[in-house]
Amino acid sequence: MKLKLKFKFYSLVIKGLIILVHEWALAEALIRYVKELSKERGVNRVSKLVIKLGILQSIDRNVLEFSIMELAKINNLIIESLVFEDEDAILKCRACGYEWSLDMSELDEDVKEAVHFVPEVVHTFIKCPKCGSRDFEIVKGRGIAIKEVVFRGS
């Protein structure tokens, strides 16, 4: 509840054009990357940008979208279509081999918030449901990644 309220607060803040969240930093990384690609290709118009959102990081989609579009403007990039694709968090135990899907709703809000900033701290709070080991792999759903960038005319 605390996290939801927090995000709601930030969403309200967006209307005042003040961004305080760390999604902005993640958007900066993505836009810098797209900018580098655009320089290489000599094109500043992106017809489609597909971002993978690993659910482990509990990214606020609205805040991220706003941040990406604002940073695109600052960097003279035109993004015609921005698509987000959620990716479930799949974990695999290195001790017993058990693979499971993490239900984020089972985590405390404090834990969710910690994992939001640094997804690897999930190892501190989650154990393998079969053998209790904390030595597991995040197979899918860690955080943000660019899945596809299509430039206009490329």
Binding site: E36, T124, G143
Partner: protein
């Protein structure tokens, strides 16, 4: 798309940091975290804007030396995260997020944490950023050398085991053209001639020695007493050679 987008941001995050000094050691238990933390405190005392990053990802302990209850501090969110100021220094540690519990991580996971932390942490204007690392040529050390291109401060003890490891470390750093601030000989009563010889062989500045201080553990977590203790006084003389 081979490049991790976070890497493009790291240079930007460190652009207003005048000197980044990573403290490394060939072996564990040589007093690296004590030296990193005390050095940051000394630099602040000399009116330098100073940051301290505890990069011992699976076993962070710098906050214990600073004597803070980690559950009462957290970085402020502002287009990233801004580390809180503790005893005058901007202090960043994974312990804020791990709630001071164990974080069992493998190599590539540690690399992911380092990239994430460096990409989201906003240091602002700093004269010095001191980075504490785990011993040896760990993932933390290799990744920070690659991403931040820092200067390196070597800490060792006069133990023959440390000496051999120290030579390997110096050779590797020199081969990789890493800038070495110098070497501190810790827990040593008499200057070890072999360490001095090693330093001259690899053209590394021998910065000085700190003797073994019997009651040093008593000062951990008692910051006001720690900054006045004998260990910090010795390090203060050494720090002058780093600042110059």
């Amino acid at each position: 798309m081979g490049l991790d987008p976070r890497e493009l941001l790291i240079e930007e995050r460190l652009k207003d940091v005048n000197r980044v000094i990573t403290v490394v050691s060939p072996k564990g238990g040589v007093g690296k975290t004590l030296i990193s933390t005390a050095l940051a405190l000394i630099l602040f005392k000399h009116n330098f804007n100073t940051g301290l990053l505890d990069l011992d990802i699976t076993n962070p302990t710098a906050h214990l030396i600073l004597g803070i209850d980690i559950s009462k501090f957290s970085p402020k969110e502002e287009k990233g995260v801004i580390p809180p100021v503790i005893a005058g220094i901007r202090f960043m540690t994974i312990a804020y997020y791990s709630k001071d519990e164990a974080i069992p991580l493998r190599g590539h996971e540690i690399v992911d944490v380092i990239r994430e932390v460096l990409a989201i942490t906003i240091w602002g204007q700093l004269d010095y950023l001191i980075i504490d690392t785990p011993p040896g040529l760990s993932d933390e050390v290799l990744e920070i050398l690659r991403l931040a291109r820092p200067e390196v401060l070597i800490v060792t003890t006069p133990s023959p085991l440390s000496l051999k490891s120290c030579e390997r470390l110096m050779k590797l750093l020199k081969d990789s053209q890493v800038s070495i601030v110098g070497l501190i000989e810790n827990m040593s009563y008499d200057t070890n001639a072999k360490i001095v010889t090693l330093c001259s062989k690899y053209r590394v500045k021998y910065l000085g020695k700190i003797p073994y201080i019997r009651n040093l553990d008593n000062y951990i977590g008692r910051l006001e007493d720690f900054i006045k203790c004998e260990f910090v006084k010795y390090l203060e003389n050494i720090a002058k050679k780093i600042i110059l």
